[in-house]
């Protein structure tokens, strides 16, 4: 929506003007910049990246300076904002949304002396790294709990955009729900936004009306949690941040994105002069994917079962995408005992067998 974009650019411009004065005051310490797609107060994705930034600042104290710009629209505006950050002397810049990929890549080429890191993307170059989390590991745990908790056997899923990242989460949760509950069905509603509370609330309501008593979300606001709470007997999971305001019901556990350690590690590399292009994809074992506290709303035996799954994934004993797995059209994807490669996971563009829906183009 163009009006919103215009507005956000204006806001971003104002923020940048504010940053400029701070930068002039202390130019000798390394400067680390962040751009966020949503407001830091979304209590989800962007909030959690900012928590990581705060940990970074706390760890290094006066030795570094951090700046952030929130509500940066994906597309040309992101390029402008990244350029501004680079011009104002940022040495390392984290671009924290999939949709910043093209912009980050372009700006990285223009500023070869600045290091860039792009979250959840796949384009790398001499000064551009990518990093992401194996959220599908957390989704497996959610799927298991959802399969056990549901009484209607209908699990709702609010998708953002039909990209591999989101489809992977849908497949992972469905596979693990199906393992403990063969009758389970998955209903998917696309919000076409990462962050639109009104659309998310309406999507959650539609799923609940369709009989879903467990709702998973791959969008960033707490609006679906509020909708589930109002509906009563509906379970949800915190997304990106703990969303513990909604515990013990409807939020029964959560996937927490833990970026702080990664940001500290990469900034240390920058200071030491050892920063190199890297491709990091951390899971439960590395601590990048955290699982929030499971509340009493989940029966003890299910909590034990979920904890066992977490432990087995963390130890590397079990991979959530282990064959036999068929695609929705019935063709074989993974043979018995075969484990999906990272390339297969990163390009996933199909539902697994059992999900009765079509992926939008």
């Amino acid at each position: 929506m163009q009006r919103r974009t215009m507005l956000k650019s204006a806001a971003a411009g104002a923020v940048l003007a504010g940053i400029a004065t701070v930068a002039a005051a202390q130019d000798d310490v390394p400067k680390v910049g962040f751009i966020y797609v949503g407001p830091v107060g979304d209590l989800g994705w962007s909030y959690q990246h900012d928590q990581g930034r705060q940990q970074l600042q706390e760890h290094f104290g006066d030795e570094i300076e951090t700046v952030y710009i929130e509500n940066v629209p994906e597309g040309p505006d992101a390029e402008r904002v990244l350029t501004q950050l680079a011009l104002q002397g940022a040495d390392l810049i984290f671009a924290t949304s999939f949709g910043f990929m093209e912009a980050t890549n372009n700006v990285a080429q223009q500023f070869p002396d600045v290091k860039f890191e792009h979250a959840t993307g796949y384009m790398t170059s001499d000064n551009l790294s990518v990093y992401g989390s194996r959220f599908y590991e957390g989704r497996a745990v959610e799927g298991l709990i959802a399969g056990e908790l549901t009484e209607s056997n209908i699990i709702g899923y609010i998708g953002s955009y039909p990209i591999p990242e989101v489809i992977r989460g849908i497949n992972s949760s469905f596979l693990h729900a199906q393992k403990v509950n063969p009758d389970v069905e998955m209903r998917i509603v696309w919000a076409y936004s990462w962050f639109d509370p009104a659309a998310e609330a309406e999507a959650a309501q539609a799923l609940i009306d369709a009989g879903a008593d467990v709702v998973l979300q791959h969008t960033d606001s707490t609006a679906p949690q509020a909708a589930a709470q109002a509906a009563g007997d509906v379970y949800t999971f915190g997304q990106a941040s703990d969303m513990s305001d909604y515990a013990p019901m409807p939020r029964v556990t959560s996937i927490i994105d833990e970026w702080g350690d990664y940001y500290i590690e990469r900034t240390q590399a920058l200071i030491d002069g050892t920063w190199e292009t890297s491709d990091t994809w951390g899971g439960i074992d590395s601590g990048m994917v955290g699982i929030g506290e499971m509340t009493d709303a989940i029966p003890q035996d299910v909590r034990d079962e979920a904890q066992d799954l977490i432990d087995r994934i963390a130890s590397g004993e079990y991979h959530p995408f282990t064959g036999p797995i068929n695609k929705a059209d019935g063709t074989q994807w993974l043979a018995e005992g075969e484990v999906a490669t990272d390339e297969q996971l990163l390009s996933m563009d199909f539902y697994v067998e059992g999900i009765e829906a079509a992926i939008p183009d």
């Binding site: 407001p39 209908i154 009104a198 009989g211 707490t222």
Partner: protein, 302 residues
Amino acid sequence: MSGIDPVILLAQLMVVATPILLAAIGELVVERAGVLNLGVEGMMITGAVCGFAVGVATGSPLLGFAGAALGGALVSMIFGLLTQVLLSNQVATGLALTLFGLGLSALIGQGYVGLRGPVVPDLYLPLLRDIPVLGPMLFRHDAVVYLGLGLVVAVWWLLTRTRAGLILRAVGENHDAAHALGYHVVRVRLMAIAFGGACAGLGGAYLSLARVPQWTEGMTAGAGWIALAIVVFASWRPGRLVIGAYLFGGITVLQLNLQAAGVRVPVEYLQMSPYLATILVLVLLRAGRAPGSLGKTFHAAQ
């Protein structure tokens, strides 16, 4: 088509349509007075943030909605002052008001992101709520849903059955004639604009206090523009306004429900269906005539 319950669908429709209905009934009065205010979106979002802020501060949804109406009315008075007293162009000023409202609300709302507002309770209507089918469909909503419908009836009554409504319509049809008869054109229009602002503010607050409920930048996401379109579709008549708002709300809910029910229709078609249906009906049903002086600048000396 399993899993779509028409009773729930209709109940949801009333809720989803309410913000649009509130904003549209306000704009209808404004346009019947001969003023075209394109700032509905800006007034709505201002109402959304004012309502949420007051609601959080006082813990009372009632005061929240009152604050939203006041906020919407105040910001509409900027438009009123510019177009009625300083005689600026209404289209340009209205668009500016939308941009201003979006920016102002983002500024006011900075401290309110992620907070939780007061709960808006459903109105408890004994007996009525227990009627089979109709009970859950019509009589288990919060008070604002009924306020929206009540306002439509009140506006209809005011416009068609009272002297005040006659004056308002006269001002809108031919402001020179109304002026010659001794009516105070600017005063009538300012009152209409303030009413329109208050209604848009209520509509916005319904999103931030009841529907979502939380504050987010740009959360009205175009609802104000839909309200403007529905006023035209309704041929400036309150009865048709309800049909338009419920049609749009209904198809919005239906497309989400179809997705949730797993109907294999491409999501893109479902997503555009509310807009398509509203435009289609707008084209087919449009029979009314716009108020004669709509959008024209009035100056007593000319």
